[in-house]
Amino acid sequence: MIITSDVSKSYGESTVVDGVSLSLPRGGITSIIGPNGAGKSTLLSMVSRLMAMDKGSVTVDGLDVSKTPGDVLARRLSILRQDNHMTARLTVRDLVSFGRYPYSKGRLTTDDKVHIDEAIGYLDLTALSGRFLDELSGGQRQRAFVAMVLCQDTDYVLLDEPLNNLDMKHAMGMMKLLQRAASELGKTVVLVLHDINFASWYSTHIVAMKHGKVAAQGSVDEMIRPDVLSSVYEMDIAVHEIAGQRISVYYG
C-alpha cells in the first residue's frame, strides 16, 4: 500500500501539489487523471522519491520513501517518467539489463538474464535488442524504457504517461501488458494517464486531481460519470456504455 499524508510541493508562489493524502491499494491498476497542471506528475515524482516534498510524507509498504536507502526502495518500487532524454548510447539489451542493477550491481547472474530476456520478450523487443536506442522510433524507445522498469521486477510500478509516443496498437498492447503484470504477477501499477477512456477500460481504481488536490477517487463506476468528469475537466463530457465499458465522449 502506498500512503501519502499531507504531501505538498510549491515552486515559488505556485503550489503544485497541495496537501494530498491518499492511500493507494495494493494490486491492480490505479490511474491518476486530471487536467494539465493538476500536479499528477509531481505527485508521482514525490511518491517515487525523485523529487523532494516540501511537506508531508509518503510510505510504501511502511517504508518512508525519503528515509529508506535508495537501493532498498529500488527493489520495491520502480518509476518511469515521461520525456526521457538519454545521452548515453545504449543498446536495448543494455538498457533493460540495467533494470537488474538494484539486485546485481552490474554483475549479472543467470537469474538476472532470465528476467532480462523475459522483459524484452514481454515488450516485443527481441528483434531490436541489439539496436542502439538512438536508432529506434519514439514508440520503440518508450517500450524499451518500460521493459527496463519491468525488468526491475518491483512490487510497485509507477509510470508517468506510458502511452506517450505509442500508436493505438502499442498503446493497447501496453495497457494489456500492465493488466497482465497486475493480475498474473501481482504487481501494483500506478499510472498517470491523459486518455480517460484507457483509464476507464483498464483501471481498478481512479484518482482525479485538480489544482494540486485530489478532486475525487474511486472505482471506474464511481469515477467515469458525466458529473464527476465534467467538474474535474471543466467541460462537458458525456459517458456512454459500449461493450460493457464506460466510454467518455468529449470531442464536440
Binding site: 517515487s48 522519491r49 525523485l50 536507502p69 535508495g70 537501493d71 532498498v72 526502495l73 529500488a74 527493489r75 520502480s78 518509476i79 518511469l80 517518467r81 526521457n84 532524454h85 538519454m86 545521452t87 548515453a88 548510447r89 545504449l90 543498446t91 539489451r93 543494455d94 538498457l95 540495467f98 533494470g99 542493477y101 538494484p102 550491481k105 552490474g106 541489439g130 542502439f132 538512438d134 522498469v149 526491475q152
Partner: protein, 334 residues
C-alpha cells in the same frame, strides 16, 4: 559451433577490432621506443652490443617517454569519458569544462606560494583547484539551463578562458609566463626516468573508473534513472569529478595539458560500441594510448631532428575530428 554461439552476434567482430587496436597500439609503442636523434636499435640492445650511451638513452629517456605517452593517453581519454557520462554531454572533457585551466591555476598558485613542496603535494593542490573549477562549471550549468548540447562546452570554454586569464595575469606579474605556457602545451620531450612516475596515479584513476563503470553508465542515463535504480546521483557525480580532476592534474604537472583527447577518443568509441562503460573503458584506454603515441611520433618526425609539441599535433588532428563529430551531431544530439 557451440562456442561461437555463446557470443552475441554483435560482440564477435568488435572484440576482434579491439584486439587489432591493441596490437596497433603495441606497434606504435614499439616505434616510439626507436624514434629519436640518438641511434638505438633493437638487435644491438638484445645482443648486448649496444654501447653504454645508447642503452642509457633507451632506459632513461625512450622507455619512460613511451610509458608516459601511454599512461597519459589512456587516463586522459578515460577522464573525458567519465566526464561525458556524469555531465551528460558528448562534448565536454577537461579542456572544455574549465578543468584543465583550473588545474594550471592551482599549480601556478602552489608553485608561487610553496615552491619547496614535493611534486605530489603540488599535484594535489592542482587537483583541488581542478575540482573547484569543474564544480563551478556545473553550478553555472545548473543556473543557466541550456537546451542546446553545443552551448554546454562553449560555456566551459569561456569559463576556461576566464580562469586562464587569471592565471596569465598572475604569471605575467611573477615572471612565470614561460612555465604557464609550457603547462598549457603538452609536450613529452622532457620526459625522463624519475619525472613521469606520477602518471601511474592517472592510470589508477582509470582503473577506478573501470571498477565503477556501471555506476557511471547509470549516471549517464540521467538523475531520475539513477535514483530509480537505487544509486545516489550526487555521490556518483562527485566520484566521477574527483577522478577527472586528479587525472587532469596529474597529466598537467607531468607533461602539460593535452587538448581534445578526452573528447575525440570516447566519441569515436561511442560510435562503434556505444556507451556502456563496462564495455567501452578498455576501448577508450587503448584508443587514447594509441592516439597519443601516434600524435607524438608524428610530432617527432615531421621536422626531424626537431620536435613539435604533441599539443600542437593533437590540436590540428583533434579539431578536424571534432569538426567531423559536430557536423554529424544533429542526428544524435536529440
Amino acid at each position: 559451433m557451440g562456442e561461437r554461439h555463446s557470443l552475441p552476434p554483435a560482440l564477435g567482430p568488435t572484440v576482434r577490432i579491439l584486439l587489432l587496436a591493441f596490437l596497433a597500439t603495441l606497434v606504435l609503442a614499439f616505434i616510439s621506443l626507436f624514434v629519436g636523434v640518438s641511434d638505438v636499435s633493437l638487435p644491438a640492445l638484445l645482443s648486448g652490443t649496444a654501447d653504454a650511451r645508447a642503452t642509457e638513452i633507451f632506459f632513461i629517456s625512450r622507455v619512460p617517454r613511451t610509458l608516459a605517452l601511454m599512461l597519459a593517453g589512456a587516463s586522459m581519454a578515460i577522464a573525458g569519458l567519465v566526464m561525458q557520462m556524469v555531465v551528460r554531454n558528448r562534448f565536454v572533457e577537461p579542456s572544455t569544462a574549465g578543468t584543465s585551466e583550473s588545474a594550471a591555476l592551482g599549480f601556478l598558485v602552489v608553485t608561487l606560494l610553496a615552491p619547496e613542496w614535493p611534486l605530489m603535494a603540488k599535484m594535489a593542490v592542482s587537483a583541488l583547484f581542478a575540482l573547484g573549477g569543474t564544480a563551478l562549471f556545473l553550478r553555472i550549468l545548473r543556473a543557466v539551463p541550456l537546451r542546446d548540447v553545443l552551448l554546454v562546452p562553449l560555456v566551459g570554454i569561456m569559463l576556461g578562458g576566464v580562469i586562464g586569464a587569471v592565471s596569465a595575469f598572475i604569471a605575467y606579474r611573477t615572471n612565470l609566463m614561460a612555465s604557464l605556457l609550457a603547462w598549457n602545451m603538452g609536450d613529452f620531450s622532457g620526459v625522463l626516468r624519475g619525472r613521469y612516475e606520477l602518471l601511474w596515479l592517472g592510470l589508477a584513476g582509470g582503473i577506478l573508473a573501470y571498477i565503477a563503470a556501471d555506476r557511471f553508465t547509470v549516471a549517464g542515463m540521467g538523475k531520475d534513472f539513477t535514483t530509480n535504480l537505487g544509486l545516489n546521483y550526487r555521490r556518483v557525480m562527485v566520484l566521477g569529478l574527483v577522478i577527472v580532476s586528479v587525472v587532469s592534474a596529474v597529466v598537467l604537472v607531468s607533461v602539460g595539458s593535452i587538448p581534445f583527447l578526452g573528447l575525440i577518443v570516447p566519441n569515436l568509441v561511442s560510435l562503434i560500441v556505444g556507451d556502456n562503460m563496462r564495455r567501452t573503458v578498455p576501448w577508450v584506454a587503448v584508443g587514447g594510448a594509441g592516439f597519443v603515441l601516434a600524435c607524438d611520433i608524428v610530432g617527432r618526425l615531421i621536422r626531424f631532428p626537431y620536435e613539435i609539441p604533441i599539443a600542437v599535433v593533437m590540436g590540428v588532428v583533434g579539431s578536424a575530428v571534432f569538426l567531423y563529430l559536430l557536423l554529424r551531431t544533429p542526428r544524435h544530439a536529440g
